[in-house]
Structures are given as structure tokens and as C-alpha cells.
Symmetry: C2
Subunit: 368 residues, 2 copies
């Protein structure tokens, strides 16, 4: 099925797909031998589509460890839509929510919340160019807060919250777009967890929301149905015609993740990949630097710089020569970045490490 | 590529796809010989994806006849999201909008508008079970209205607005989900036109919005970026990671529509299909009845009933036996419905007409 060259993407999103899942998707998009219909043509209320829908939701529930107390929803619009919906659904009209500002996306989540209600900054590392995550002791929490919003992994500078805080007075709302399923995220204390699907879970254009059922009772303001978690939950994420094909493709990717060993295996691979890439970078301190400080370095977005940034173009060209792409840093900070999402093979990290070593060695020879 | 049986769907949405477009989609989802990437893996900011994005928007502009004064946007969430966004973006905080209530979806658009602002019913045919569209002379228009909302085609009872009204004091906002590109819709007087893509344009989970640029200046309330037409327009429908694969597939479907002859040819086929199916129904008045009254009958959703509704199951079973599916009526009204969207071949209408004739003939023999 696959022909010609195959390129490995380290882009920050959309992420890469395993060849076998793409092959299955390619086959599945054609009219099926049983139904005679493409999934693109199936009614979202038909049993044939319903099987994919239920399968994707059940996989997600298992992978996230969701219990009876949790709803799991699939919504359009990715994480950015949740920046808008979470505060609208969860902050009382005269209430307040707390936000920990650890990166560009956390800041955007905050500014979205402020369109609806009061939202406070409990701490921010913006003054340190987001190179670290503010220590818990420095957080100025508000006891009235409806929730504390956290970004579990920050893609732009490449930091990650190593552990979720415990013993808070309010539920946490967590944007886990860039590390969901690549780490164990215990759900106690979590009121809501959300993620755009396009990094670790597959198709761009879907948002995953896990929410405690009791939070669905709040509904502090009158909202159109499409913006209401309660309405989506009551209709099993079939409030309107959902992005059916994307949910079918999500179910294929989740099947693959479960088949490979689920979250424990995805965590193990994430650790191994990160270790391989960070080791290579650290072996050449004269060539590469890391803006994120050590205890907070991300396992899914390795952000690095060439000490001689004039060579960025050379590095990228050599990467492309080896069929490794998407290594440019975020446009707001420049530099380089390797995103290592759930479907990234460990061998991909090894190929990147070889490039890092060879590039450094060549620079050394030039300098000699 | 296609194997086994091929079934023709008359479902109200998602609609059917031409075999050749599905074959192209199946091929395209695999890593391309040039890029080595699947479109699922392409950055939404990459030139490779950008080509599809620009191509889809340019096709839409041509097909809709959009001019310099119009923005065309591709948004997540389908038409239901526009039920929420249109009033939020277009009705001043203390203002009002007018709604013509011609069906279930028009009523839902109205109730969504009322979440944000005042929305009036200018006329409703709900008392007539939506069997007709209220005559223009009966519309109680408000001169303060920010817009008049119209549903150009009503899928549940199968009525259609034959012509858009002229000489209004306010712009029209038109939900054209179920007849866009199957009729000529002159844009003078149209402030905004929107459609879920899954009926006439392909993939479920995308909304198309055409809006006059001057309306983007209004922005009566502070909205999160994802809910703001102005923000989406300023970012070329790339505000966040869009449903990239759906936009790629949309571009394939639009290529097909343009290749077949564009809107004039889609209109001609719509007329021919509707004529074939309505003629067959009308030939057997003792067997079939039509709830929609004659001047308002829809060319894309032919809603009909068996005079002996106890035979609905028989009819559907015979249809399935001929590989014709999706003929159930909307769950709120029962009966039968044939949706004839842009990609429906004229031959599909002929196959349905044969079934209608044969079913009626068999009933006649039973009765004889």
C-alpha cells in the first residue's frame, strides 16, 4: 500500500500515524463489504457508525481510567474550543477561577476564561520565558476558585508538570493535549481533563473531554447547546452530526494504542524516547542548549537550540535529508523542537539522536 | 479498489460520496510520494496542507459566487455551531433578530439565538405541521432587526423556500445546509449563509460560512476567539488546528462538483432527480401521500408517506433488497424520506422511482 519515501514527522501537531493505522484507514474509507457504505456516508444515528462511536469512547474510558463518576466526551474544535467552553460551563457568573500560567497556551486559556468571568493568575513563569514551572509554594490560590487550570505539558518551551498537585480546595481542570496517554495521570482531584486529539491520539479537529459528572450540574449560565458540556453528555457526544470520520479514525488509533500495551507501554516508550534524545543533546553541550530547566523538561516536546543558531538551516536540511521533518521550533521562539508523541517509534528517537551526534561531530571537525 | 456490494444512501445526512472521490480519498490518506506524509500528519501551517486549504476555500468562493465583499470560512461543529455563533456575533446586546420558523431546525436556530439576545418569530408554520412556508405578506418584520434568519430548505417535512425575499430592511442570514450548491442563491441581500458540509459538500464535522465583511465589524459582545467570526476571518480559518483531513476531503468533493459542471449542473440534476421522484409518487395517489404542500416541496428532501403506514417496514425492506438505504423519515415525524443531495446520481432517483412504481403495482395486485 505504502509506496515511495516515508518521512517521520517530529512536528508539534498534527502528529505522526503508524503505517499500519494509515493502511487500515485507507481501506476503511472505501465502501465496506458488509455495509456497502463508506463511513463518510453512514448516518451518525446508524448502528454501523454507532459501533465506531461507542468503541472510541470505550477505549478512551479504559485508557484514561475513567470511572462511573466521569463522563468522556468527543467534541469538535480541539483544545482551543475547550479554552472557551470550560470557563463558560464551570465558573459561576460572579465567580472566579485560578490559572497557572506556564506557557503560551496556558496564557491563551486564561484570556479565553476572562471573556466570561473573572480568572486569576496564581503564578506565572512568563518572566523566566516559561523555562520552568512555578513551585507550588509560590501559588497564590483563591479559596473561592471554581477550579485551578493547569497545562500538564507546555509545547512551546518544552516543560512538563512532573506531578499533579494534591490537597487542593478546588478541582483541577487540566489541558493535557500534548502528553495525554504518554503519562499516568491519576484522576483524583481532577474535575476535568481535556486534549486536542491531533498530537497523541490522531485526527486534528476533535477535542477529548473527561469531566466529573457532578460538574455537569453547575451550568452557571444559559448557553447554546453546542457550548454546553451537559447537553453533549446527555446526548452521548451525538448532539449534532459529529465529525464521524475523525471519530472512526480515532477509534483505529486507540485500537492501536491498546494493542501496543496501552498507557503503561506508551509511558515506557515516552521515557525511553526522551532519555535517548536528551542524552544526545547533553553529550554535546558546546553544540546544543536546552531552554527548559532540568526538573521540568518535557518528555513529549524536546525544545533545543543550536549554540550557533546561524546553523539552524543546516541542521534542518540535514534532518530532511534523513527524512526527519517538523523539527522547527514554534514560530514565537524559533530554535528547534522534537515532538515525541504516543505513536512515535523509539527508533525514531534513535534516528534523531544519530543526527544530533553526527551534526555535532561534523561541527567539531569543522572547528578542529 | 471498490469490492463487494455498493449501497446508495438516501439518508438526510451525512450524504453519499461519488465512488471516484472515495477512491481518491483512500489513496490520498496514505503517505504521498512527494511528501512522504499522510495529510493526517501534515502541520496545518505547512505549505503541503496549505495547498488543500486554499484550494477548498477558492473552490467554495467560486461555487458560491463570493466577491471581494465576502469572507468564506471553514469552521468546526457544523450548522449547529452556527446556530450559536451567528446570533452571538451579529445581534447587538440590546438588539433583536427576526426568525422565520419553517421547521424543526429553524426552531432550534431560534432557541439558540435566545440564549444570547432577543429573537422574534416573524411567522411560523408550526401550526400547519410545517407543511408550507408562511407567505411573505404574513411576516411581521421588526425594523430594528439585526438580521432575518431563514432556512432555505427544511429537511424534516421537506419544504423549500422557492425564492429568497427581496427588498428587506436588514440582511438575511440563511441556513442553506440542505440545499447549498443545488440551487442558485443570489447573494444580494444575504449577510451570511451557512451550511453543515455533510449533506451536499461531503465530510461531517465542518461548517461553511459565507459572511459579508462589513458584518465582521459589528462584534457586539466579547467572545472567545473560537466563537468569533472576525477572529476566524483574520486567521484565514486557521485560528487553531482545523479538522485538516476533513478540509482535504472537502477539497476533493469540491473538485468533483466543479469537474461535473459546478452549480448550474448540480441545479439541473437536482431538478431532474426531484421531477423523477415526485412524478413516481404522484402517479400512485392511493399508495403515497406528500405532507409538504405543492409550491413549497423540497428538491433535496422528498418526504412521503405510505397511505397504509403499516407497510413502511415492507417498503424499507424492499428498498434494502435493491441496495437503496436511508429512506426512513426523521424520527420526529416518521414516514419516509428520500434525500437527494448534490452527489446523488440521477440514476439513483430512477432506481428509487422504479421501486416506488413496483411497490405500488404489487400493492395493487394484492388489492385486486
Amino acid at each position: 500500500m505504502m509506496q515511495g519515501k516515508r518521512v517521520l514527522s517530529f512536528g508539534a501537531g498534527p502528529g505522526l500515524w503508524p503505517d499500519e493505522v494509515l493502511a487500515r484507514a485507507s481501506e476503511l474509507i472505501l465502501p465496506g463489504p458488509g455495509t456497502g457504505l463508506s463511513p463518510l456516508e453512514m448516518s451518525h444515528r446508524s448502528p454501523d457508525y454507532g459501533e465506531f462511536h461507542a468503541r472510541a469512547l470505550a477505549s478512551l474510558r479504559r485508557l484514561l481510567g475513567a470511572g462511573q463518576e466521569h463522563e468522556v466526551l468527543l467534541l469538535p474544535g480541539g483544545a482551543t474550543m475547550q479554552f472557551a467552553m470550560a470557563p463558560a460551563n464551570l465558573i459561576p457568573v460572579d465567580g472566579v477561577a485560578d490559572y497557572l500560567v506556564t506557557g503560551r497556551w496556558a496564557r491563551l486559556a486564561l484570556s479565553n476564561a476572562r471573556k466570561w468571568a473573572q480568572a486569576r493568575v496564581v503564578a506565572s513563569s512568563e518572566g523566566e520565558a516559561f523555562a520552568e514551572i512555578p513551585a507550588r509554594e509560590t501559588w497564590d490560590l483563591d479559596e473561592r476558585a471554581a477550579y485551578l487550570h493547569l497545562t500538564s505539558n507546555n509545547t512551546v518551551v518544552g516543560t512538563q508538570l512532573p506531578l499533579l498537585p494534591k490537597g487542593l480546595d478546588c478541582p483541577m481542570v487540566i489541558d493535557a493535549s500534548s502528553d495525554v496517554l504518554t503519562r499516568e495521570l491519576p484522576l483524583d482531584g481532577v474535575g476535568m481533563l481535556y486534549a486536542g486529539a491531533q498530537k497523541n491520539l490522531g485526527p486534528a479537529g476533535l477535542g477529548l473531554v473527561l469531566i466529573r459528572r457532578e460538574l455537569l450540574e453547575i451550568m452557571p449560565r444559559s448557553l447554546p447547546a453546542m457550548l454546553s458540556y451537559r447537553e453533549h453528555a446527555a446526548r452521548g457526544s451525538l448532539l449534532n452530526t459529529p465529525p464521524t470520520l475523525l471519530i472512526v479514525l480515532l477509534s483505529l488509533m486507540l485500537d492501536w494504542i491498546e494493542g501496543e500495551g496501552g498507557v503503561p507501554e506508551m509511558c515506557r516508550r515516552a521515557d525511553e524516547r526522551a532519555e535517548i534524545v536528551y542524552s544526545a543533546l547533553s553529550s554535546h553541550p558546546g553544540v546544543y542548549s536546552l531552554p527548559a530547566r532540568a526538573p521540568w523538561r518535557s518528555r513529549t516536546n524536546v525544545v533545543f537550540r543550536l549554540v550557533d543558531s546561524a546553523r539552524d538551516g543546516d541542521f534542518l536540511a540535514q534532518a530532511t535529508g534523513r527524512d526527519l521533518v517538523g523539527l522547527e521550533g514554534h514560530r514565537s521562539v524559533g530554535g528547534l523542537r522534537a515532538s515525541l508523541y504516543a505513536p512515535m517509534p523509539v527508533d525514531g528517537a534513535r534516528r534523531l539522536a544519530s543526527l544530533l551526534d553526527d551534526f555535532a561531530a561534523a561541527l567539531g571537525r569543522e572547528g578542529a
